[in-house]
Symmetry: D3
Subunit: 238 residues, 6 copies
């Protein structure tokens, strides 16, 4: 079930905050990847299907610097196989004491057309990664090579990331507030609802800036508000 | 005991660092709201009397999305009742896994003339809030709706925020180092002392920049320093 | 064993990420000071020999505000004794609830030609410190005076800082990813190797930006890559 | 809505594990007070309505040792007012660095017929409290007087305890696994269901001890299991 | 490579402390499952090959109470498939806020001849599990059903547990100090060395109890100590 | 200033809870070693002057297993030099991921007449240590050899332990609630006051067990209580 291009476009125009509310209405309260932020909060919203990499704690004898000579090493393999348009999501067990990846690998993802990268650990070369066009999200910068603490073990399996479940193909959205995971089968619905909610929130924000109280306005418990909003949408063609 | 306008002005010109030292001299060592920072550190210093909101952990059956249809909901009520010039302080139990508030409510506070907002949790729509004129302080951005984890229960009662006690009417000051809480009855004294201390610190900084050792200068254990400082103040009219 | 000026220059041109890999190859996996970041990530790389200050938890009766009247107070003594070119490293027991130091002391270090300052706690006056030329690294801003929680007890002894061992004279390097500690006797070797590695990483980055796969390129498992790199170095005179 | 004596008796015979499953079926996933254990795990199951005490962080000037000379001090008042049969629940902000209460106050609760005491902080005199007949639950022992960090502020208001919401009158149950909070209006239903579930679990345990596989037995997906269970109940008169 | 019965017997007679030292000598410093303790520390030492279960964070819509009606549910499947003599090791992401398993499943493991069970989360029905003969290890008791936070996703794959890497077939040993993981290919060697070390430690303990200084004795830097130990072994036939 | 034998005896008969209150009255609020408990809570109260050992994070190249061949190794030296009657206190940076010491060294301390041992980390061979007569306190059991994470660096210097300051010669008292540090110059005074307080607390406990309210009794705000207590003391000869 590939991500519908229209859905992708809709999701690019809404916020993770709005999406979490739409998920909350469906009983999903734990889809936010906790304690992960953009390296550059000014980038456009990231949207794409999850492609995952699973790390386990590194055993010293299995992780000399030479492991990368193996072309089949799961980390390197994953970097070359992640589909364009996808978001590369790493389960680093929320451990940022060693890096999840560095600028060369993230640059390669960018070149391959990948839509973004997320770890619940940290990136090295964080200043360089922040300057790339590809959106990137982590807990904090972390210089030590990933071999210090992380051993890549599985590619594109269900993982946990920042206390959220991530299944391959789930739709991952990231902005200045962090990263949210939409179950694949809900993506179209959530996108539609979030676009609607965003229109209303924009209307409310405009009214609040004009000095209006939130009472009866947010939520729109007064009939007058709903009529006013309908007119506003018509005028703005939203 | 409303905040004296002169005291407010004085506090706008001193730092939270200086204030904590003045509090320390009076035996108050825990008035800093821990692990809370400005969304935009370049804003002017925030000063105002505390107006509080207390959250408890949300019970699922009491917190459907429809609770906000109730005009008396404590969160919405508090937003409309917080006095102009006050600082809105939220006890979120230092839990930033769900939002304490979002940009619409903070915009409404700004329109109402509120002096600032603080939570020991996190705000959603954090990029929008950072761009508002009203100073705002939190632990980190957090997209999920507050209903996910927080239930508003009390308005303007004594609370804990970031491990500091906050009583309604206490004077709350925030800058790039975070937020400090001055007990109401000490506000005038602390403001006076902090202004004095700031003059001396500015003098010391100038001398240090000229190459002076801190020995005998900071603190002013040498008589010569005290004489020099008196002359400096006279010259600068401070 | 003073830091070789050539080694200092080399280290200024490499990243902490590259250095941690060189240390990892030598079996040193814990030399990164954990969870410490630059106050201003845009500053040049910090390099210098470690000069240390050790704090223990402050006992209230031994830490009134008047302790600084003692010219021999270890904190103030350390500030005046830290050699030019060194990095001042503070063991604050990873406790940022009170400040490790403020802008006046850091300004004095700058005037004295000190190369940088690091704490695993926090600085007060953080906005001022960020604007100084001297590089500074901490966990987070913290306004309360250091006397609240920290008592300076020892100058220039081996310490722990952010879970890393720091011996006086170790070479400390800091950039946007944080701070790494190179054992003194390895500094020249690590610098040489890091310069070599950096040349290769720059070459790889260029190739990746041209669209090359990392397979066979990073690491250079293919002979062709090694030949191409040799040519690249020659051309760039690196 | 006082706790029905039959409901109390039923709840004494079921486990907190079984109760959390019954709550889970009703969409309540956060009613367990996290990280709180019995001082003496061999005591009978604790059951009673919640009577609450709320602490905020202690401000030093408001909490000299003499505050207890005030008979109206909320902590002492609460101890004398908690109804027999109730469970005394303290919101200590999950902070066990100072005591929530000591053996004298807990002994007084026991004498007054209170059914138990719970804090998400710690008790002092923990060995003495463990030897009392009244069940007690905390995070860990903690000697320092509560005035060090906790200021009693409110009696019998809604609180958070160990990340769970606790409303006065909720039914609190504690055993070796910890403490669970049943919303008052669900207590009768949950008690009935938990008694049923316990009968089935006892049946399953017996069969498993006889060597039976859990397949088809737990849950009872096979008709044969349901028939066998019906016979077992009849025989045991449960 | 099944676990050699002699190796199993040897490992039953040595401590996890001794094993970690033998691993340390081989450069393996992270094989201890951190922060996990026996439910009953008086049980004999647990030894067996790792058989693993991987949990990810539970998504609410995928984890209703009815999931266990599926006989292929990974948790239930794993319980019935774990080989006799093996140790069942669960990756609960060090999250003890919901249970990893309860007494019925652990009883079933005991009946099937499984050698022990370990989670880096917590067990429900902890008092019952402690009374079973099968050794069990967790972080702390936790009543809520596993569906609250954990979704079983993989059986017998490499996992992390308490920050240690665990590969299926690794040899897992547990005693009052916790649980250590021996890479499968090292089990025989480690067992031999640990038996030797234990003999020496017993000798040293005896001598220390007789009043001997540890100087020259522990480690045996003096020739006399080595001669005395050789005699002691002969006499004790160890 | 050696510990007065009478003071030692008095302190053996009072609790750490009572001592923290006496310290609190003198403005000392942070003398409790946080999160440290006895390995065997049934042992008599530990009392002795602090003799300290300071660990820093272990650097791998400086901590091979062979370091103990050096008779001057600070850990082994400290074990042989700690005076009889003293309490051996280890600064392990509150890191229990590797052991602070094991049963052989603790047995040696016991044979040498040392009064107790405390670490803010963990002990290996914890079951054996619990069975020794010498009182021992730690955070939790921890099997890995101390070389894994801890390097002994200083003997008998001021340290932090569990967030409390510990100066050599301070008087350390431990019971089931944990360990408190009395500044050396206050030991006699605190002991006297704690004995007095204990008599009153025993009186209060007796009255509460007889059914008395705490109002007017605890604290003794009523004259009648004070008269009754005087009589009680006379009768009990306390």
């Amino acid at each position: 079930m590939p991500l519908n291009p229209e859905t992708r476009n809709k999701l690019k125009q809404v916020s993770t905050a709005t999406i979490t509310t739409a998920l909350f209405k469906r009983g999903l309260r734990r889809q936010m990847i906790q304690d992960v932020l953009p390296l550059d909060p000014s980038k456009p919203t990231m949207v794409g299907e999850a492609f995952t990499l699973r790390y386990i704690p590194a055993r010293e004898d299995l992780n000399p610097i030479t492991v990368f000579h193996d072309r089949g090493h799961p980390q390197r393999k994953a970097i070359e196989e992640c589909p364009p348009g996808a978001v590369f999501v790493i389960d680093s067990r929320s451990d940022a004491r060693a890096a999840s990846a560095g600028s060369i690998l993230v640059t390669r993802l960018e070149m391959r057309g990948v839509a973004g990268i997320v770890t619940d650990g940290g990136f090295r070369d964080s200043a360089e990664i922040a300057r790339l066009a590809i959106p990137s999200f982590h807990h904090r910068p972390s210089a030590p090579t990933n071999l210090t603490l992380h051993q890549a073990i599985d590619v594109n399996v269900p993982i946990g990331c920042g206390d959220a479940p991530v299944f391959p193909g789930d739709v991952v959205v990231g902005d200045a507030d962090g990263v949210v995971v939409i179950p694949a089968h809900l993506a179209d619905d959530i996108a539609d609802e979030a676009v609607e909610m965003t229109a209303f929130e924009d209307f409310v924000t405009e009214k609040v800036r004009e000095g209006r109280s939130i009472r009866g306005l947010y939520p729109a418990t007064e009939e007058a508000t709903r009529i006013e909003f309908a007119a506003w949408r018509k005028e703005r063609r939203r």
